[in-house]
């Protein structure tokens, strides 16, 4: 049952009797050594860490060269969204081009899994590096198209 060849018994590391003061001093020395090392904490929000390229923050609706939304209101993002945070009202022009008339993302419901940007067939929705949006009202977290077009405006820039 017990000893197989891939097992290593660690019970041998049990310290036997004796050895009382020295280990305590060693521990204190380790702490003291770290006391003089460079701190790894940063003073948020005056200091802010740079997040990585793939960061999944607030959503952005991308626009093309003419400034119109790339989104074709196919609803794939709303379909894949696990917490069902996306609501789209599509709108079709005379020529047959589809646009989102309304596009809401509930940023409180959202879990930032990034499935919407993976699902999007035209690269219209993207998760940005904005990670600390704050507001006073729950209603303010219902992002509409105007807010979604430019989430970078919410980056905290200090008072």
């Amino acid at each position: 049952m017990s000893n197989r060849d891939y097992a290593v018994n660690v019970s041998g590391r049990r310290t036997q009797r004796g050895k009382i003061v020295l280990p305590l001093l060693k521990g204190l020395a380790y702490t003291l050594k770290n006391f003089f090392s460079k701190p790894i904490t940063i003073q948020y929000p005056t200091q802010r860490r740079e997040v990585r390229e793939r960061w999944r923050g607030l959503h952005r609706l991308n626009v093309d060269g003419q400034g119109t939304l790339k989104c074709v209101a196919c609803g794939l993002c709303a379909k894949i969204c696990p917490p069902q945070a996306i609501r789209i009202v599509p709108y079709e022009e005379e020529g047959g081009t589809r646009f989102p008339k309304e596009f809401y993302i509930d940023e409180i419901r959202c879990i930032f899994c990034g499935f919407c940007q993976e699902a999007c067939p035209v690269g219209a929705i993207e998760l940005t590096k904005v990670y600390d949006y704050v507001d006073y009202d729950r209603q303010d977290f219902q992002f509409d198209i105007t807010k979604l077009k430019d989430p970078e405006q919410f980056i905290f820039k200090g008072k």
Partner: protein, 390 residues
């Protein structure tokens, strides 16, 4: 207190040392525990039920929130279960990336355990060092997936994206740095007389009894049983790596501590081997029923567009079969029992949570111990309520 009368004390659910929202009703005779009744369910979110109304991809972020200290391991277990049901084999490169993510998650889970366990017992310093090193792994997660605690990086049929050069750099940095950090933890705790007094001989459980209670993971190995799913039923290329399974002898809090400390080193060895021998190739399985066609194909090919819509809306179609797959989570054998009914949604997803089973042994482990030792024993079996309550 009158002779023979006991006092009932509610410990938790907001007690800082009960690791989440565990509530224990302790019946005390002076300072000695007579009877313990654990109450769970305060973090119940109905994950198993929610999964029944989702498609197979949408369940992945839910599994992140089971054992949130080691999220990638839960992803791994779930994705492998669905793959087993679909009968697909993930490419080697994706398997290696999964192993790296999983072992990093295991170290993350053990970091949280070590920090909070020592904090509960009264060694406050350790938590700062473990969280400093945990930060490095979170940065690796962030580089790879874009999220730090709940990466949701694994997919049915592979991983979400290929790795970046920075990822390899960060992992190598971590592999180089971490042995020194483990030495530091050992310096602070292993020989420390206060730590030894608080852990040695506390809460022992014999191998036979631990098996009967259904223990798995480090808590079982602390009692001297060399059972580890990675060795007993290798999955996800674990047979490629050279690593050992640490076991204890006495089954007390100190042995469970030693086992987990050695697992730091063994997990690190696996990560090092995986990152150095990372094979080339694709990171998702080449199967049109599972693979999401990329954007270039979608622009060129209408069938790829249709397939993309089909896969994203419904996910893979699984056969009407039942399957069980277990992985070695950071707390023990984490199993998923999945019943497919031929549609795009699971008929039933049952999660075998190791922590739930460990919690069921609390009345046995805590009977007759001193009140102060309750904290050490709860810390030593390393339970996470997100997984118990699901």
């Amino acid at each position: 207190m009158a002779e023979g009368k006991t006092m009932v004390l509610n410990m938790g659910p907001h007690h800082p040392a009960t690791h989440g929202v565990l509530r224990l009703v302790l019946e005390l005779d002076g300072e000695t525990v007579v009877k313990v009744t654990p109450h769970i369910g305060q973090l119940h979110r109905g994950i198993e039920k929610i999964a029944e109304s989702m498609n197979y991809q949408q369940v992945i972020p839910l599994t992140d929130r089971l054992d949130y200290t080691a999220a990638s391991l839960n992803n791994l277990g779930y994705c492998m279960t669905v793959e087993k049901l679909l009968g697909i084999e993930v490419p080697k490169r994706a398997q290696y990336i999964r192993v790296i993510m999983g072992e990093l998650a295991r170290i993350m889970g053990h970091h949280l355990w070590l920090g909070s366990h020592a904090l509960d017992i009264g060694a406050m310093t350790v938590v700062f060092y473990t969280f400093r090193d945990r930060e490095m792994i979170m940065n690796i997660n962030e580089e790879l997936s874009g999220y730090r605690l709940t990466p949701s990086f694994l997919r049915v049929g592979g991983v979400a994206k290929d790795i970046t050069p920075d990822f390899i750099k960060y992992v190598r940095e971590f592999v180089q740095w971490f042995p020194k950090a483990v030495d530091g933890y050992n310096t602070l705790l292993t020989d420390n007389i206060i730590w030894r007094k608080r852990t040695m001989g506390i809460g022992p459980i014999a191998a036979e009894e631990a098996i009967n209670y259904g223990f798995t993971g480090p808590s079982l190995r602390g009692s001297g049983v060399a059972y580890d799913v990675r060795k007993a039923a290798p999955y996800c290329s674990y047979e490629d790596f050279d690593f050992k399974i640490p076991i204890g002898e006495n089954g007390d809090v100190y042995d469970r501590y030693l086992v987990r400390m050695e697992e730091f080193t063994q997990s690190l060895a696996i990560i090092e081997q995986a990152i150095e021998n990372l094979p080339e190739g694709p990171v998702t399985v080449d199967n049109p029923w599972v693979l999401n066609p990329n954007l270039d194909d979608v622009m060129q090919d209408i069938s790829a567009l249709i397939r993309r819509f089909k896969i994203q809306c419904e996910g893979p179609q699984v056969p009407a079969e039942e399957v069980y797959q277990a992985v070695e989570g950071s707390k023990g054998e984490l199993g998923y029992y999945l019943v497919g009914d031929g549609t795009a949604q699971p008929y039933r997803l049952k999660i075998r949570s190791p922590c739930f089973i460990l919690t069921s042994a609390l009345p046995r482990l805590l009977a007759g111990v001193m009140l102060a030792d309750v904290i050490s024993i709860i810390g030593s079996i390393d339970i996470v309520l997100g997984e118990i309550d699901r």
